[in-house]
């Protein structure tokens, strides 16, 4: 059979069974080549066409020259987890081109720079050779702009290949370049150039197409770190100390930017957020504890290595009972590990962070909406329980683009906890309880009252803040009963916190099989449930939203024969914690572990559950 006949047959097949609004576009470039704007325009245009979309950046720990991939997933059903198979590959990086072509699914479309001569690599994909380098010389006269503009040409070619509406591209370009006329003009020229060249020279043979839908109206696209930052801003954070670390730096920077615009005191026009870039993470948390001790809503943001360095101060915060909000945007491994790859790596270490006995409240947002809402919860819980509270996101959630409903305005005021701020409050407290004792449980919930330095001019209002060795009057002691009483009260306080943390979300209809997941795994797990349901297996789902666990989790586990626990780490960290909590009944739990540095995909969950159910 001649090649031409084969081509015709393929084109025919594509027409007969098109794949519409349900595939991934994978753009392979070198980092520092300026492809970010192009990828963003591509993603936004699809979003503006009403098609659910997500964008993930798989990038190296490097500034320029190493391979980077950007994946845009279009999903008519609204699934926005990573998709394992690639439908459309745009090959711009000679370094990885051969490997990139080898890994796409059969039947994929591959757009590539003509001179790379990739078309001999496989005969089961559709190749589209484009002379990007020649085109950019014709389309862009300013030599300095060519390196960036070449990326816009692939936007044009992709718009031809996938039927992306040019009007939406124009809108996305205007948004990207904030309507700077010169930038818009040169980029649009490159995009149109790519489109026109493709129209004249290429024949569509692959099945992938985009069609306008109405599933994104009113929605926003945002990275989790920006969502958390907005939540912190709305929570009234007054003090931020941080040390730069991927993948949490963009959270701090985003908060600083938002606060500079939106957090000026309406009466004095002075900033109401104080920011210190600390010398390291030890100092960052030390500053947070100092500011919080003095009465300000305070936070830091970091990732695994920073969490390790914060261990000692976290213990002090726990024992001295000082509020702190610590955001952990989790990533892979220490030192030169995979700092730009995602992992739910710090669950166990953070839950018990400190020396001595300690357990902490961990909030586990599963979406950008929850990054926003739980940032506010974190401040309320930290101040209510006078203790460090951890907001555990990850690189996938934090640094990738997610579609979401616009965030609602908070419906409750801040909970500042038990603070005797004024002379009147202090005197009323003393009248009621005979004296002020900093660490006395006068309400029976384990939570004591605190005063702030410099607020109440009364000799009895001051106390001395120190670690574990204190009695209920905050006086130094090494007496066994004092120490034990304090430890028991702290345990009681933790039980009160258990009742106050966000409850899990349970969905299902009485299947014998359940799945438990948390954080960014939610997208893949929901998709996996849909895939399994199509195959005839209904799986109930409990999404954990906080530690400590609440009774709903135990009940869910008891109500199912087998419960799969999905972790994005090698050791099944949440699985282990749940086994501890379930005691003798832990035999119902089965661990599914994903740990290659890439975000979780639905297939991994499907395969894990199917493997378990076949046994």
């Amino acid at each position: 059979m001649s090649t031409a006949v084969l081509e015709d047959q393929r084109a025919d097949a594509a027409r007969r069974s098109p794949v519409v609004n349900d595939f991934s576009i994978h753009v392979a470039t070198a980092n520092g080549s300026g492809s970010q704007s192009s990828n963003s325009i591509l993603m936004r245009s699809i979003f503006q066409m009403g098609i659910p979309v997500s964008g993930k950046n798989l990038f190296p720990s490097n500034i320029q020259g190493l391979p980077t991939w950007f994946t845009i997933r279009a999903s008519k059903e609204g699934f926005i987890a990573r998709r394992r198979d690639v439908g459309v590959l745009i090959c711009m990086n000679p370094e990885t081109a051969h490997e990139d072509v080898r890994t796409v699914a059969p039947g994929a479309a591959v757009i590539y720079e003509e001179s790379l001569k990739l078309d001999g690599l496989r005969d089961d994909v559709h190749f589209y050779a484009v002379p990007f380098q020649k085109l950019v010389l014709e389309l862009v006269h300013d030599g300095k702009l060519r390196r960036l503009a070449v990326n816009m040409i692939y936007v044009g070619v992709a718009s031809w290949l996938l039927d992306i509406d040019m009007a939406e591209i124009e809108k996305a370009v205007a948004k990207q370049f904030k309507s700077k006329a010169a930038a818009v003009e040169v980029n649009m020229k490159a995009i149109r150039g790519g489109l026109e060249w493709a129209q004249k020279n290429l024949t569509k043979r692959d099945p992938f197409r985009l069609e306008r839908m109405d599933k994104t109206a009113g929605k926003i696209i945002i990275e989790g770190n920006a969502a958390t930052a907005i939540g912190c801003m709305m929570a009234g954070v007054q003090f931020l100390s941080w040390y730069p670390i991927t993948p949490s730096s963009s959270l701090a920077e985003s908060l600083i930017d938002y606060a500079a615009k939106h957090r000026l005191d309406p009466e004095t026009n002075e900033p109401t957020l104080s920011v210190v870039q600390a010398e390291d993470e030890l100092a960052a948390l030390g500053m947070v504890l100092g500011a919080s001790w003095a009465g300000a809503r305070s936070m830091t943001t970091t990732s695994g290595p920073g969490i390790s360095l914060m261990s000692e101060f976290t213990g002090l915060g726990y024992y001295a009972e000082i509020p702190a909000v610590i955001v952990d945007v989790q990533r892979v491994g220490p030192s030169t590990g995979l700092p730009t790859r995602t992992m739910q790596g710090d669950i166990t270490s953070t839950y018990y962070l400190s020396h001595g006995d300690a357990k902490h409240v961990l909030l586990l947002p599963g979406s950008v909406e929850e990054c926003y809402a739980m940032a506010m919860d974190a401040f309320d819980l930290a101040e209510r329980f006078q203790t460090p509270v951890f907001l555990m996101t990850d690189l996938d959630l934090g640094m990738n683009n997610w579609m979401a409903e616009p965030f609602p305005y908070p419906d409750k005021p801040f909970d500042r906890g038990k603070v005797l701020r004024t002379k009147e409050q202090f005197e009323a407290h003393v009248a009621k309880f005979k004296e002020f004792a900093r660490y006395r449980d006068v309400d029976g919930d384990g939570i004591p009252y605190r005063t702030l330095p410099g607020f109440v001019d009364n000799p009895a209002a001051a106390y001395f803040t120190r670690g574990s060795g204190h009695n209920d009057r905050a006086t130094y002691t090494e007496r066994p009963d004092d120490y034990k009483n304090n430890m028991d009260r702290l345990a009681r306080k933790f039980e009160t916190a258990r009742k106050a943390v966000p409850k899990p979300i349970v969905s299902g209809s009485g299947s014998r099989v359940g799945v438990i997941a948390y954080g960014s795994s939610d997208f893949a797990v929901e998709e996996a449930r849909a895939i399994l349901a199509r195959k005839g297996l209904t799986v109930d789902y409990l999404r954990l939203r906080a530690l400590p666990t609440t009774p709903e989790t135990q009940a869910f586990i008891r109500a199912h024969d087998r419960v799969y626990v999905v972790d994005q780490n090698r050791d099944g960290q949440m699985y282990d914690l749940l086994r501890l909590e379930m005691g003798a009944e832990c035999g119902r739990l089965v661990s599914i572990r994903h740990y290659d540095g890439f975000p979780l995909d639905a297939e991994t969950v499907v395969e894990g559950i199917e493997a378990g159910e076949k046994k």
Partner: protein
Amino acid sequence: MSSTEKTPAAAATTPAAPAPAPTNRVQLTVKDYGGLKSTLCVGCGHDVITRQITQAIYEMSIPPYKIAKMSGIGCSSKTTAYFADRGHGFNAVHGRMPSVATGAMMVNPSLVSIGVSGDGDTASIGAGQFVHLLRRNLPMVYIVENNGVYGLTKGQFSATADAGSRLKTGVVNGLPSIDLCAIAIELGCGYVARSFSGDMKQLVGLLKGALAHRGTALLDVISPCVTFNNHESSTKSYKWAKEHEIPIQEIGFIPYYEEITVEYDPGTTQEIELHDGSRIRLKKLRADYDATDKRAALALCQEAQEKTEFLTGLIYAEPTKKDFLELSSVGPNPLVEVPDERLRPSQATLDAIMESLK
């Protein structure tokens, strides 16, 4: 004679009531600035420093509830419990007091932050935070009670021990000592002093000056450890310090509310105006030493190090230097006093942000 006329005579015959203790400008006695009883070794230099701190904050009429006592870990760091117990105290983790103080002062600059640390807490485990505190020029008084050894862990050398000094166990220190004053000057600290716990008059003057300064004031106070480092071969013992102390000035302190009454000769006396309008008057004991000359100050430190001289006094002053609050974006009003309702942006603001993300 009426009964009223008899009263003075009657009063004269009854025992005299004890004279009321003197009070300061906020109507408090020196006792009101006291704290818990010290649990340090009898004769510890640190207790002498505690008394001078108590005296200085009393004389400066600082409202005790406005005092934030900051410390790390070690014998020195325990001493913040021994003064001003009407103020809040904070025992941070070892070497990390500067960060806690930074957080507190950034949100409430109306506090008077007094930090007490030791040579282990500052020059070893806390070296990182110490240099960044100085670099930022956070408004606080930072006192190092420097004895060259770790006391609570029973007598190991610290990083300020002089090269060649010998422990009681016979161990000789081969490493050069870290000069905290030289580091502070190098990093732009605007008030750098060295003193000796045995020189009470000088110390209280330097402390008052430090309290009147805005920005970090560093006092490196040699404070002998009577238990582990007070022997013959020590260069941080009472005997050695008393024999070797060479004050570079006589320290006088004139509070802002007192008028200048004495003329002075600028050739023999240097007067430096501090942030709150108080003045520190330095009667020169070392000819031509100018405490505002950074290069001269560094040269002095280097010379002392080379000759193993124990020079005390106000080594360097730059009273007009901007502090960390002025250098950062926050305004002069304490952030902790901003009411909650002014901390949350409006619905319209959130809506506009959401619109921009569509």
